[in-house]
Symmetry: C2
Subunit: 207 residues, 2 copies
Amino acid sequence: MKERRIPKETIDRLPLYLRCLNKLIDRGEENISSENFSSRLNLNSAQVRKDLSYFGDFGTRGVGYKTEKLASEIRDILNLDKSWSMALVGVGNIGSALLTYRGFDQRVFEVEMAFDRNPDLIGEELNGVEIEDVNNLVDRVSEKNIRIGIVAVPAQAAQEISEKLVEGGVTGILNFAPTLLDIPDDVQLAQVDITKELEQLVYYLQK
Amino acid sequence: MKERRIPKETIDRLPLYLRCLNKLIDRGEENISSENFSSRLNLNSAQVRKDLSYFGDFGTRGVGYKTEKLASEIRDILNLDKSWSMALVGVGNIGSALLTYRGFDQRVFEVEMAFDRNPDLIGEELNGVEIEDVNNLVDRVSEKNIRIGIVAVPAQAAQEISEKLVEGGVTGILNFAPTLLDIPDDVQLAQVDITKELEQLVYYLQK
DNA sequence: CAGTGTGAAGATGTTCACAGCG
DNA sequence: CGCTGTGAACATCTTCACACTG
């Protein structure tokens, strides 16, 4: 195991390795080689080995990696062994979709609170979560010790909301608004930018 | 103007430049320097100049860039001067959110068709779009000459659906399913992977 | 003379190639 | 003998630094 700085691209790929492993485990496969791995994810096998070796010597020479063991190691590395409760702000199109989304592992990620400023929504319940007044956001988030905030409000409101989330003690923000958030360095940001993805996509569609 | 290959990171940033420019134009600013630009987007000013210079000499030495002109150039480069109609597949949580999403410029991107396999949804109308039977996808997409498909179905169905979209003549796919699609090289892929973003986010939340 | 455009230097990430271990 | 782990070579992207121009 080396002590070099870990490239963010490596962190980017860990969730993909994990997904691939889960599929293999479901199928009963016990081992996988970096070569097999890399062909499933279309990348170079040396890449796979290097990525994994940043965190330890997980493989066995001449054999490969044990699927179960490696999956568990990666979950550990990514912090998916804990459970993370999240506060959602903005229960519009995307917000309400997220509240009922089944895509993420419920044992790891859970939307525990939801906020909106629309009086018609406040007090309503969606998927077992009561929608609260966004004016109480700071207090409620810090009260419940929430560490992740999801910003699903219109672009104009996104900066203000993210500041409130940070004030409430959140250390990670998942932003769906198509805008750059200005947040402290010690708060982590992940961006889901649908418009940007589409705009890039059509660039490559020109002939 | 140079003839070097354009880094994909540069394409990545173009939508951000455009957004920033639109804000400035709204405010009535007529010029912007690479320095000013870069501080708004937190990147290096040489980066901005280099990115833009791949496509032409848009700036004026001693002055900067004309906001209107540069915005128009970038729209051109990204192909946002055309209108792109899209076919949405899967009208569940995320799919229906996208059908009513106001985030993207309606004159450029429009969901023109929607498909699902749920008989209860087929025939319903959402935001002016009739939900059609996914079994007719290939024919209908090629009939309407759709070039972009949005995959918003569960992971297990995503590969099959993307193959149908390609068969229908789509050349770009925006995939929301948390799975790697195996598609022909001449079909462009953009991925919106919420779970992956969250998993990466919590990696950085460890202390 | 302020600010662009761009070679050259530097930083970061990927792939090769192979020693070495199980 | 097969496959990992990893230095070294290579490729790509970013930043520096400055010539040059409106």
